[in-house]
């Protein structure tokens, strides 16, 4: 494989000048050598990892540490703690809405895909929902890695054109007097929804409240379940 970025740009720039036929463009695409490794992803990855370790491009212990962090430490429990704090502490909520990155860091959460955070607040009249139509942008420090549906074509394609229809598929029917705001994470900002605190939770501790905050409620595809209605959803 000798194709360089410069070659790619040369092709791209020529194509922009409309002097290159689509055939040339697709020839470039075929240039991507997808077949040099075994087709089974498990075998391909094994071979790739061995090679990268031998070439000292990756360190196995670092890989293990990353996996452990995202499987066991960094996940929606973090976001739930942020939400619960905002529910019980009005001054914190104010800071969270004004400067989400700093307020989230107060609870110890920061890092990749959360460098610049924005928190948007649901109210009885406003429902926020987050998507990344172009790829899979998601606030890792507070929600962990995104679920498959969030990265999938059905969600990414319809979230912006038919959010209410999509929300119905999640089981959430919003009345017409509620304004739906969809946030498309097209740049380097990452979004967290501050869901409404459900009724019947007045006596609960901050920690108990956090236990009720679901991942989906912080993406904006669900509301937080009401304890009085019984059971975690």
């Amino acid at each position: 494989m000798t194709t360089t970025r410069r070659d790619f740009l040369a092709v791209a720039v020529t194509a922009a000048g409309a002097t290159v036929t689509p055939v040339a463009a697709s020839a470039h695409r075929n240039d991507h050598d997808h077949q040099v490794v075994p087709s089974d992803p498990a075998l391909r990855v094994k071979a790739l990892e061995s090679l990268l370790v031998e070439k000292r491009l990756v360190d196995r212990a670092a890989l293990d540490a990353l996996i452990d962090a995202y499987e066991h430490k960094i996940g929606p429990r973090n976001g739930a703690r942020v939400v619960a704090r905002a529910w019980v502490d009005p001054a914190y909520k104010q800071r969270l809405l004004a400067n989400a990155t700093a307020a989230i860091a107060e609870l110890g959460y920061s890092g990749p895909e959360g460098e610049q955070m924005v928190v948007v607040e649901n109210t009885p009249k406003v429902h926020n929902m987050v998507v990344c139509t172009l790829c899979s942008c998601y606030p890792w420090p507070v929600l962990g890695l995104p679920p498959v549906w969030y990265k999938s074509a059905p969600y990414r394609s319809r979230a912006v054109i038919d959010p209410r229809g999509l929300l119905r598929e999640f089981g959430l029917q919003l009345p017409n007097d509620v304004e739906v705001r969809v946030w498309d994470s097209t740049a380097d900002l990452r979004y967290l929804v501050l869901p409404e605190r459900p009724p019947g939770t007045e006596g609960l501790s901050e920690e108990a409240l956090a236990g009720w905050v679901s991942r989906d409620s912080m993406i904006g595809t669900a509301k937080v379940a009401t304890p009085v209605e019984g059971g975690h959803s």
């Binding site: 970025r5 791209a12 040099v36 139509t133 172009l134 420090p141 994470s185």
Partner: protein, 214 residues
């Protein structure tokens, strides 16, 4: 590039596929792909834009981590970090690379700091909150974060997020071109016509270069 990845507004992608109690990873190889890609500084244009070059039929067929794997291997090959014969044999032939390697001891710091792209440089904003703007009708064949559904549409500056590196040029190594990024509010009616609820809207984060006064 006007590719399959830019799917906002398409209607034929089928129903939502929701998995209850979904695990973080569905297979051991997904764990490894995630970690390898996260630990490695892949050559430009970077994983996102390389994944966008996967042919559409393949892009739609592949699982998320298959796309990561394919794009990552392609980037490493194109960047000269590995060769196809090395991939076939599993044995290094170009010698052991010296230099930056993420160690386990450095992982906690990486997971705390991340890689901020906001820049503390004085750049005057061209637009102010509340101003009407039009998303430019740009159709570059190179990387862009300007979604097709917003091009040519009129919106309102909702918020100025500050100054960020401009991904369109940074990904191509054509300069960081730091500039303001704005949250721009587009009404659902402006984007999709008269049959959608008038009260709804879509907020799109846009680099200043994507916008013009309206």
């Amino acid at each position: 590039m006007n590719g399959i990845h830019d799917m906002g507004g398409m209607q034929d992608m089928g129903p939502l596929q929701y998995e209850k109690n979904e695990p973080v990873f569905h297979a051991e190889w997904e764990r490894r792909v995630f970690a390898i890609v996260t630990a490695t500084d892949a050559p430009p244009p970077g994983l996102r834009y390389e994944a966008e070059l996967i042919p559409p039929a393949e892009y739609l067929r592949m699982s998320y981590y298959e796309k990561w794997l394919t794009a990552f291997v392609t980037l490493m090959l194109k960047g000269g970090m590995i060769t196809s014969s090395e991939l076939e044999t599993g044995k290094p032939v170009t010698g052991t690379r010296k230099g930056k390697l993420l160690t386990a001891a450095e992982v906690p710091a990486l997971l705390t700091k991340g890689e901020p792209s906001i820049r503390n440089v004085p750049v005057a904003p061209r637009f102010e909150t509340g101003q009407r703007v039009r998303a430019r009708n740009l159709n570059p064949v190179t990387p862009t974060r300007l979604p097709r559904y917003a091009r040519g549409k009129i919106g309102t500056i909702e918020r100025d997020h500050g100054v960020f590196d401009f991904e369109d040029t940074a990904a191509q190594q054509l300069g960081d071109n730091p500039q303001h990024v704005y949250s721009v509010r587009f009404t659902a009616g402006e984007l999709w016509g008269e049959q959608v609820p008038k009260q709804d809207s879509v907020y799109v984060d846009m680099w200043e270069n994507y916008l013009e006064p309206a």
